[in-house]
Subunit: 294 residues, 2 copies
């Protein structure tokens, strides 16, 4: 590893996040050699056409070999198998990081499989769009967003700092958190919103045909924002819910209680309750705007 960044980075997975990293590296660290690994030849052909990697391979072990930094950017369910395949190829002193949305499960899957002398820096750049695949990425995706690092007690500070510098170069603000806390925060800010969006769009999908076409035509009343969120990658989201079960179920329980209270207020015509509940949500919106996350 040399100043300012890394000599050779292996990107395992070149979807929205992986290909955005490749693009950001081209801009911010053009001297870094990028090795892209995907599970299909088709994705690799797209990466080559886009010119965002120096080498492409279907073989994770070949990608990991000689890399200073390996970035896992696949759905969570692929982590363990990939780690098993890469482990023998990783050079001592290499850093492995990931971008997964559930940190306790990511650590459970990867930590036991990584060889001694390889430094593991679990991470989560909190950025995304509803689009998937190598063509969906863009270098600016990370700008002004947060990246949460979840280092282990044994992770050397220099490895944490090197990964943090990379995300900062992409325009991110970097913070640290423990895995359980991260998973609880994200259950609320990301996992529950996606679950709800998938649900309501599914509810609309099941409507009688005559209603369904009108739901699409008149979606500008609020529904269309949910359709955008619910267009996110299904495999990635399946893995998130399977791997952050407890925190999601806890937040979902709170949400359901609150929804039931509002349902009751509507049924019994309790206008004061509705007005009160609808007025207090503005505080959070102001916070979001002030934190420049709007």
């Amino acid at each position: 590893m040399s100043a300012p960044f890394f000599d050779r980075i292996a990107l395992i997975g070149v979807g929205l996040i992986g290909s955005s990293i490749a693009r950001a590296l081209r801009e911010k660290s053009p001297q870094t050699r990028i090795v892209a690994c995907a599970k299909s030849e088709e994705s690799l052909a797209t990466v080559r056409r886009l010119g965002i990697a120096d080498e492409t391979t279907l073989d994770a072990a070949a990608a990991a070999e000689r890399a200073d930094l390996v970035v896992l950017a696949t759905p969570l369910s692929a982590y363990a198998d990939l780690a098993r395949r890469m482990a023998p190829a990783l050079r001592p002193g290499a850093i492995v990081t990931d971008v997964g949305s559930v940190k306790a499960a990511a650590i459970r899957a990867l930590k036991p499989l990584l060889p001694k002398g390889v430094h593991f820096v679990p991470g989560h750049p909190v950025a995304g769009t509803e689009h998937s695949g190598p063509e969906a990425g863009f270098a600016e995706l990370f700008r002004d967003r947060w990246c949460i690092l979840v280092p282990l007690p044994e992770t050397p500070p220099a490895a944490i700092a090197a990964v943090a510098r990379l995300w900062e170069a992409f325009g991110m603000r970097v913070t640290e958190m423990d895995a359980a806390h991260h998973d609880k925060v994200l259950a609320m800010t990301s996992h529950l919103p996606h679950l709800i969006a998938y649900t309501i769009v599914g509810t609309a999908t099941d409507l009688e045909e005559s209603l369904k076409s009108e739901v699409i035509a008149f979606s500008a009343g609020g529904f269309r924002d949910f359709t955008r969120i619910a267009a996110s990658d299904p495999t990635m989201w399946r893995d998130i819910f399977l791997n952050n079960r407890e925190a999601v179920l806890e937040m979902l329980q709170r949400f359901t209680e609150d929804l039931t209270a509002l349902q009751r207020a509507i049924r019994w015509g309790e206008g004061e309750t509705l007005l009160d509940r609808f007025s207090r949500t503005r505080e959070i919106r102001r916070g979001v705007i002030e934190a420049k996350q709007a």
Copy 2:
């Protein structure tokens, strides 16, 4: 009433929708005299400063006098009182329309109070943002959105056509529907999404302080879209839920059943069910994009 539009329009209520109508009229029908009525002198002062009305008044009857078209653009709970006050002032042949999000209740409130010889064209321009007040409006709000008219059996076709021409001049596509059907479609596309957004932002508001600040910082993961929707005007939304109770409760029941099914799939680790549900929502998103409502 003269070609192409109206000589004198009374806007009762100059919030987001009312003030957007005023701005669109200035652009598309500069010869129309605009009388703006609001319930506070402060709103009227803003309207005068913005220069989007020719006359301003706190008195709905004075505004309605001599108007060819009266547009009610207030929360639903104000309808009956306003109609009672305007009724004696309305000239024969005048058209009254409204922009409310619940049509059966709007008709129930207004129809019995409007004098014979005044033509009532219930309407709903399906457009909006999360912002409220006279300063939030803009002429382009209506462009490429749908306006749903809900004419009564006794409404003269010429009155319907005159109102339709106005919305079309603002860039809207106009369609007709009966009130019950309108209220059901909107319960799904607009009322339920707002109820859910208000709920989840409320759930976050109740979190422990340490979690809450982080929910704001990391809102880019999906939550922030909900905070935007939940920033909409509380009074307007209270009135919508109180006035479209049955349709909202029916759609909410369907949603809750679907959410419970997903909750169960998460609890029992049923990945196939999750993948299946998350995959089928894309059809609706494609429809929204093809209908140019994205």
